[in-house]
Symmetry: C2
Subunit: 364 residues, 2 copies
DNA sequence: AGGCATTGATTAAACGATTAATCAGAACCT
DNA sequence: AGGTTCTGATTAATCGTTTAATCAATGCCT
């Protein structure tokens, strides 16, 4: 049973060159004092032997694993691919790996998932909290991606501003009765988006909020939202807080024979995968996940490697009880990243017919 | 600079009880010979001190990191949440963590992503290959989730059977002219699904394949697929190889004023997140990702921990050059997992009107 | 009673990398 | 020439865990 890794280690390189392990280590890390010529020879043989440093050995000695955790309590969230991709990329640029943890939308398992990560020795973690939950002590530095209005948030998209932009867009098109579609008022993200929308609409614009959660409680999951009725009531625009619900609205309206965007407009949020391929393509707000991930990872890594932006007093400062990097909520300078309006085909000026949509509604 | 982890280690427990580290290790792992009473005391103090074993120390000694890699070359794939969730769950049940790697749909970066995982010391990896790529030597045990018809596949959904079931469903509804919608013939998964569909249709049923890739080459990404024309040509059903394309077809048809399912039917694959909430809800084939993940992880872990199902000769067998666990393509006993038909509202008997769909097409 | 197996613990050696401390030799200065 | 500094390398300790080898003590058998 050969449990040892096959690859060569530092001592093999050292032996093959007749030098000490320490010298090899220094040469490869560029830290100690090694002659340029020897560095070159060591580099060469390391490459020739196919040397891969053992993370285990390094981690044991340095106390750092080089791995970050990514906690997504609601992994079925269709945003996940975007988030995971961006976080993984930023982390790998910073030299870190990403361990995923899922709590299957169960609030109780969130703590368990976090513990699993801690037991695996992550140096820090990025948490996208399930709506309404607060992050308890994790035992390592933590970056939170939620909303700017949530206390403890590290960085996130500026959902409020995103809401404003959508509202401005719909307002400028001339909509005066807009239905806002959300799932649950317990979500900070949704509240911010809706708040932003409301704040940017002129006084004469009427809005109403439809909470999907409430309707599904009555009619079951996947039920109709009764949007045709809303059209009869004079609503000309449907602004959903996510492309998933925008899609739901779009198809429900289409099925009812209501033309989008000729008669009513539909907008979403997040520019999810399908938004650009449905007909009509969805007008939506896109988050700059790459920037968000970059800020989160940078701040997190800074805390891990430098202790973070703690009060840097003048020289002579006492480091008496500098808190160990256990459980610090990381903060970033720039905590809100603007969202970008993507105008596609699902939004346009309000249609003429507001009542009687029985026939001739379609324009091909 | 306190680089040491804060938590207590084995020696702290040992010291606090006046026993040796080895005894503590044995007690906690249940391997050596320790009296039941002492085991209990050690367990208790370990818990009291909040002991968390150091993965680094363990990994260094045992040569195993307890971490698996998950490579998804096309991370933007909307299936990702399902896959990641299932793999993470099975892995964590088996006592492993999951490190993600993304190659951003770039074929060249697939190797790089794999290397990153190997450098991080994963014990094995699960790869969902980008369509058409073969997995080169990875330097550790590898489980591949692709299609049963791909050489080297470890386990996957039975896409062919899935195709057959969809075909049987549409056939039994009475459809006789079906348009098959795929992206690219270079995908094994898509080919299997389409092959399955064709194989189960009666001789009198006509089919035609529409490759989205080809159309988009001409008209640009997100363009219309010209499905209204197809309806005029007499097609009454549209079977897409993924819910993403089914959705694209559905909305395009609806926008054109064609009623689904009254006039034509639309079916998809994979039961993606939106399938149950659009109107009409999509009829689709669901993969049993939990079972697939479980089989893949079980096989992978078996190879890692036991050397896998290699030829177990009688006793006296020489283990002269037993191959180290470097780069073994894992195989599983059960390599194809049946897909399940989910009948919703997007499929029904073919509508009466096959020509002239100018007016009165809608039935609310 | 003496020899032997069993139990319950300890000792000590790894695993692979990092790094502070040390050291030999060369160069430099007065 | 003698002392100091600098360079380029080595020595050795350390991180925390696992595990083979060892050992003392006890119980059992003939």
């Amino acid at each position: 049973m050969a449990t040892t890794r096959p690859g060569p280690n530092l001592s093999r390189i050292a032996a093959s060159l007749g030098v000490s392990v320490a010298t090899v280590s220094n040469a490869l890390s560029g830290k100690g004092r090694v002659s340029a010529e020897l560095v070159e020879r060591i580099r060469a043989t390391a490459a020739a032997l196919g040397y891969v440093p053992s993370q285990a050995g390094r981690a044991l000695r340095t106390g750092r694993s080089g791995v970050l955790g990514l906690v997504l309590p609601d992994i079925s969230n269709p945003l996940f691919p975007q988030i995971a991709q961006a976080i993984e990329y930023s982390a790998s640029v910073a030299g870190y790996g990403v361990l995923i943890a899922d709590s299957r939308a169960d609030v109780g398992m969130q703590t368990e998932a976090i513990n699993r990560l801690v037991e695996r020795g992550v140096d820090g973690m990025v948490i996208v909290p399930r709506r309404g939950t607060r992050i308890s002590d994790a035992g390592c530095p933590v970056a939170v991606i939620d909303t700017p209005s949530t206390p403890g948030n590290t960085v996130s998209a500026d959902h409020w501003q995103g809401g404003r932009e959508i509202a401005l867009h719909l307002g400028s098109l001339g909509h005066e009765k807009i239905l806002l579609i959300g799932v649950s008022p317990s979500s900070n993200v949704q509240n911010d988006r809706i708040g932003g929308i409301k704040s940017a609409l002129g006084a004469k614009v009427k809005t109403e909020i439809l909470w999907i959660e409430k309707i599904e409680e009555r009619d079951g999951p996947g039920c109709l939202l009764g949007l045709a009725d809303k059209v009869r009531q004079g609503f000309t625009a449907f602004a959903a807080v996510s492309d998933l619900h925008a899609l739901r609205a779009l198809t429900e309206l289409q099925k009812a024979g209501i033309n989008v965007p000729d008669t009513v407009s539909v907008t979403g949020f997040d520019d999810l995968i399908w938004s650009s391929v449905v007909t009509p393509a969805l007008t939506t707000m896109r988050m700059d996940m790459a920037a968000i991930a970059d800020i989160a990872i940078t701040a997190l890594v800074d805390v891990i490697e430098n202790g973070g932006p703690i009060e840097r007093g003048g020289p002579g400062e006492t480091f008496a009880d500098e808190p160990p990097p256990g459980s610090r909520l990381v903060t970033a300078e720039k905590s809100r990243v603007p969202m970008q309006l993507i105008v596609r085909q699902s939004s346009g000026p309000p249609g003429p017919a507001k009542t009687n949509l029985s026939d001739g509604e379609l324009s091909t």
